[in-house]
Symmetry: C2
Subunit: 149 residues, 2 copies
DNA sequence: GTCCACCTTCCCACCGTGGGAAGGTCAAGC
DNA sequence: GCTTGACCTTCCCACGGTGGGAAGGTGGAC
């Protein structure tokens, strides 16, 4: 990632590097997750100081922010790997990006529809339940017997 | 769960018990998950034959179906634990069930809104991307720079 | 020199589900 | 009887993402 070799931390700072918590702060990705992304290969290994501290440049933080934004849009790690590849490939076809995004949109639609289905059923049940001190409850009755009662 | 002790499997069947795969089939919960629910204490420990095979009665299958149905409505394991408790408590107040269900509905609403927010943003981006062989792509531009460009 | 904040690695947890290995058991066919 | 294949058991590992925390090393300020 940083491609830098074996600075003292103070030197690294002078050269414009961040340590991991600064990179986390600037990118919105937690230090924990930055390490995790490195470990899983989503981002290349960070440069290190002589003492073994990870150091990051602006460009690295930029990558992390890209990941953060992608997560915010609900892309999976795998998809983000693909997006990063496309982002860094200057000869990419925008159609490839669009395709990936459209696929993800379809996934979101499916998930939304699923949740809305649950919500509708639940709304009906909640509506039917008088919700007082008595024990009889159509919600439980449905859970207990739906599809065969 | 089954409260039965140490049958031979053939005896158990005559007494109306199911083995785990029959219970799975009848309840819609996989054998794998039945064991898992037992291990986590969501359902009581099943009875066993002398050979150690789990055996289930109709009532046990009924419980499993309750769980399955609850999962289908998106309840978490924890919530299902609560629902099971209420279901089996004949002196429950239906208000308690309604409250749990209403809370879950609110959770669903929040999740749906979140996904719809993602979807809206994504739709806009996909719409803006010409999606041809050229590399320039507003989707990647947004992921790379949103919030500071 | 001391102190505290930060860094490192490592392991564990969540939730829900599935895969698969290694070994025991049941029932059917011969 | 014995073999065969389907099933059972327990155990561990994986996924996606994120967090908690322990144990030990460092950086920098006073």
């Amino acid at each position: 990632m940083a491609q830098a070799k074996y600075f003292e931390l103070s030197d690294a700072r002078r050269e414009g590097f961040f340590n991991i918590s600064e990179a986390a702060e600037a990118s919105g990705v937690s230090a924990k997750m930055i390490r995790h992304y490195e470990e899983t290969g989503l981002v290349p290994k960070a440069g290190r100081t002589v003492a073994g501290y990870r150091i990051y440049r602006d460009a690295d933080v930029h990558v992390l922010r890209f990941i953060r934004r992608s997560r915010d849009l609900g892309f999976t790690m795998k998809e983000i790997g693909g997006l990063l590849g496309l982002w860094q490939d200057k000869r990419r076809a925008s159609a490839d990006v669009k395709k990936l995004a459209a696929k993800h949109m379809a996934d979101l639609d499916a998930r939304i529809a699923e949740l809305q289905g649950m919500r509708r059923t639940l709304e009906h049940l909640v509506h039917c339940c008088h919700g007082d001190g008595r024990p009889d409850c159509p919600i439980l009755d449905d859970l207990a017997g739906a599809g065969r009662a």
